[in-house]
Structure formats: structure tokens, C-alpha cells
Assembly symmetry: C2
Homo-oligomer: 328 residues x 2
Amino acid sequence: MSDVGIKDVAARAGVSPGTVSNVLNRPEKVSPATREKVEAAVRELGFVRHGSASTLRAGHSKTIGLSVIDIGNPFFTDVTAGVEEVASDLGYAVILSNSAGSRAKEERNLLVLAEQRVRGVLITPSDEDPARLDRLRERGISVVLVDHPAHRPDQCSVAVNDIGGGMTAVRHLMERGAKSIVYVTGPLTIRQCLDRRAGAERAYGRPLRVVEMGTMNPRAGQQAAEKLLSEGDLPDAVFCANDLLALGLMRDLTHAGVRVPDDVALVGYDDIDFAAASAVSLTSVRQPTHQLGRVATELLLDECDNPATHAHQQIMFQPELVVRESTR
Amino acid sequence: MSDVGIKDVAARAGVSPGTVSNVLNRPEKVSPATREKVEAAVRELGFVRHGSASTLRAGHSKTIGLSVIDIGNPFFTDVTAGVEEVASDLGYAVILSNSAGSRAKEERNLLVLAEQRVRGVLITPSDEDPARLDRLRERGISVVLVDHPAHRPDQCSVAVNDIGGGMTAVRHLMERGAKSIVYVTGPLTIRQCLDRRAGAERAYGRPLRVVEMGTMNPRAGQQAAEKLLSEGDLPDAVFCANDLLALGLMRDLTHAGVRVPDDVALVGYDDIDFAAASAVSLTSVRQPTHQLGRVATELLLDECDNPATHAHQQIMFQPELVVRESTR
DNA sequence: TGACCGGATCAGAACGTTTCAATCCCGCTC
DNA sequence: GAGCGGGATTGAAACGTTCTGATCCGGTCA
């Protein structure tokens, strides 16, 4: 059992507990000689600060919360990695929670985070309702929206321009000569899917033919291919709301004798690791996911640590088109 | 600012703080009438328990730590999802840390976890040295090893049988008639890569030709393909230490006119989402990753909550071969 | 009637830090 | 040698819970 506390250290070093605390938190305030004595005692006793006591007294903790919609999704995984990197560098612990798209679970998770008195929360909200987040902020917990633009100016957010991404993809297809383009997407209740369509249609100049699938995995892509094939009327190009859809689609088109890109050009979204390595490498829209996580965390911690000077920012990253064989 | 504490609730409900605490922690101990009064007060005041104070007094927290080697890796992502699921169901918060393969970073992260006084730690150790973990356990923090078998009987662990997985893969290739088999792998300093080779060779009956790459992504797979092609002497079958290697390899073999599976059969490992949807779908060895995370967490929380009756277990899951076109 | 019982409630002391006003000590100046 | 200034150090209060032993109260039994 770890029962060595700050006063054991104090006793060992022959100083008062207050001094030990100073060594721990404001080393510059204490003379080098005593500092060394204390540090030695800490080492000898294997003292580890009791975070809860510290949080309780100081009124704020060294933890932040991260609430994502789907841990399994590589997009969030990359974001999470960026978050962890920055947080851990600054000595913060990250409490991870997965709302799995369920509003109830998100609510429960936020409660747990509030109980832990996290310093702030990074959240990809599972719906548009800002009430829960306001309640957090009333509690003095800063909130930064991730992958979701803030509606209000007193709120930080980082997001990626999905409209722009959709435009870029379709503009590229059109420059390549595509006349009829289909948009294959996941549920249109998802903001990303909607925004990408909006951008795509803006570039296209009129409504796109849309194939909407319930999920966004390769299997759904294959089903989308079947649908297109059975309907006969093949487009010259397909824009998919994510790479998994695109790759599944590509596979079944190819199996059916349709050549990519000669018969049908194809653009995906996310630029997952494997996009570059599929049989016909996939043109895709890459998002700076890792960066998204890093910047969000930096904003959050700045808001926490320098509340006076902190300026709220709504950052919008621009995605980048990576051209490969599927549109060449 | 959230400054409503247990005594505000007590005042509002006209009871003592102790009673409120009882309502929160042992509702059965308090009469229905007062319980209701207190619950109403909690609701009206929007009271949220201060976790740190609670931890401080009670001596244990409602958090566990999870330390993985590489958050970005889908294997760990799935494990993490399983962990989060169970923990959150039981009201535990998960503190995530990523050692990124660096022993120093792992050490720092474990210190942070110790400061947070986590109840226990799930860890995929970045090396074999058990000293750090012993130090944690001396502090009363339970430890469960993830994806790494425990050497000692007084230690829980969950792992997947990589030797068995390697055997299964190669046995399958041999049954299919393969005579010369190559093992394409990541760094052989990684236990998984080593174990899979060991199993593979056990099935093969003699040493395998090995192509060792520095990383385990599709690009490395493509480089491995180039190497095999340039050396001329193509095998009948390749077993890859993971799917990304296998898919990259497949792509470049196919581009070079080598037919899969007719000229070269191919087995990957991990059964990632995309294995089923590549141009030639990939035979792969699937691991119960999600399950791994769930069971590990259940073991840990059992060890924490029922230290008396808890029996340490070393669980070894068996992977499963999923046969697809690349070996048909 | 009074002693006794048991369940519900209470009061107050912890838990291990941080904070802040108070104190100490030392070298300087006059 | 007294007085002063200022950096280093101290000691005790406070943070919001939980826990423990004590108290209260209504009812039962002799």
C-alpha cells in the first residue's frame, strides 16, 4: 500500500509539509539546498503525489475528458492519438469515453467526467442540442467541439470542411470529364455525409443521384455496386462518402468487369492507410485528423490555463485531395 | 461554477451530510421518505458528487488506466472499445495512455496513473521487465496484462495464441498444397511477429524463408513484394504477419502479373475490415480483439472489487482462420 | 412505568494536499 | 547594536467527501 504522504517526506527531509508542496509545485520558491533534500526524500520514499487530494484542495484536476462517437472509427482513432500526445506532454491524463452514437450513453459519460472534475472536455457531440454542453460550462468545465463547428462565438471548435471536401472531389471528377456522377453515402442523418453531398452538388451545379446505405463499410459499398449494376444505367464517376464504401464498391465493380477508372472513375474520403494500396489505388480526400486532435487539445488547455488571455476560436481545417489511379 | 456540495443538498433536504452520503452510496440504509427528499434536493440543485473528495476519503477511485503500445493500431482500437464498454457499464472511467513503444513514455504515463490513484491498470507492456508493474502492485494497484501472457501465477493476463495462429495459417497453406512458403513480417523484436513465426515453422516442420520489414503497413508489403520479385525465386505461398503487409504485397504481386492465389497463395493476420473487400479477398487469421478488452476489464474489476474471492487467471484466446479467395 | 431494542439519523473527525498569513533568520544600514 | 527588509520556511485552515460511534425516537416487553 502506498501510504507515504507529503508529511512523511517532510519528516524525512526535516522540513514542513508546506515546503514539500512548494518543491512539488513551485520549485523556484525554495532554496536549492532544501529543494535537493526534499527531492532526495521523495526519491528514497518513492513518494507519489495523491492526485485527488491535490485536486480537492487546488480546485482543479490534471485531467481532460474526450468523448467520441465511435472509438472504432479510424478517424477518431487518429484524433485520439493526437489528443493523447499533447495532453500527455503537458502532464494531463485523458479520460476516454465512447458515446457509440447513443445520446443516453453520452449523457452518462459526461456525468462521469463531471464527477471526475475534469479540467475540460473535448467532444464530438452526438447531436445538435447544446444544452448539455452549456451545463458543463456552467460548472466551469471548458468545452471544445471536435469535428463539429461551433455555432456560438464563445466556444472553441475544430472541424474539417466537409463541404469543401465534397466540392474538391466532384470538381476533380468533372475536370477529368465526368458527366454523370453518383454520390454513394452512409446515412444522411450524419452531418458529414450531408455536408459532403452539399459540397458535391455545389460543384456539380445540380442535384446528384444519391445511393444511401445504412452503414459505411466495405460490405455496404459492395451492395451499392450491385445496386448500380442492377439498375443498368452506370455513371461515369462515383464519389463515396468514405473509403471503405469506395473500396467495397470498387471491388464489386471490378469483379463485374467494369474498369476503374476507364469506365467509372472513383473518389473516396478519409484517405485511409489502405487507399494507396488497393488493386487500383484510390483517389481520396485526406483530412488532417491527427492535427485535429492536437489543435483541439491545445485550444482546450489554453482555455483552461490562460482563461484571461484565451481567445475562442472556431478552426476549420481544409481537406486535401490525393489523386491516385482510380481517377487517372 | 459548480459549488453545490453535499452539505448544500443536506441543508436543502433538511438532513445531515452523512445522510446524503448514505443516499448516494447505500440507499438501502435510509428510509424511503428521506431518500426521496434527498434525491429531490439533488435534482433541484444539480448536485454532482466531487469524485476527488470521495476518492480521497474512501481511499479508492472509480477509474482504471489503460496503457497501450499504439493507439493507432486497429488491434488496440478494438481492444480499447471493449475495455471502455465494460468499464463505462460499471461506472468506471478509463484513463487512456499511449506508450507509443517508448519505455520512457510508458513510465511517465504509469506515474500519471499512479497519481490519479487508478483502481487498476490494463497494460500491454512495452517490454518484458516486470519491475515497474510490481511497483504498481505494491501500491495496491491491480494490474492485468493485455495481449501478453503473464509469467507469474499471481497475475492476471489475457492474450491471443500467436503461435497457434501461425500454425493454423501455415497448416492451411500446406493442406492447399504449398511447398515453399515465405513469412513476411514486421520487426522480429515484436513478440507477436516472433510467435507467429514460431508457430508457422512448427507447422512447416523446418525454418521458413523470412522477409523482415521495418514497419507493418501496406507500403512495407509492397516493398516485400518487390524484394520477392527481384530475387526471382517466387514461393507458392506467403504468410504475412498482418493484413496491411499482405494487402500491399498482394497489390504489387498482382500488378507484376502474378496471380493470387493461382501462382502465390496468401494469408494475412488480424482480419481487418478490408480483408474481405480487397480485389482478391484475403484469407486471414482473426483475433477476438473486442473480447480481449472486455474480458481483461472484467478480470481487473473483479480483482479490484472482490479481492478476497478473486482467482488470478491467465487467459489465452484462440484465433480463428477465415478462408477467402486468396487461398482458394 | 421504565428499561431496552433496533433502525434511522447525526456530528465530527478523518483523508492528503494547497494556500496564506505569520514567523523566522540573515545580512545590511545607520 | 538596534532596526529594517526580504527571502525562506512554517503551521494551521480549508477543500468535499466518507466513516464511525453516538444519539434519537418509537415501539415492545416485563
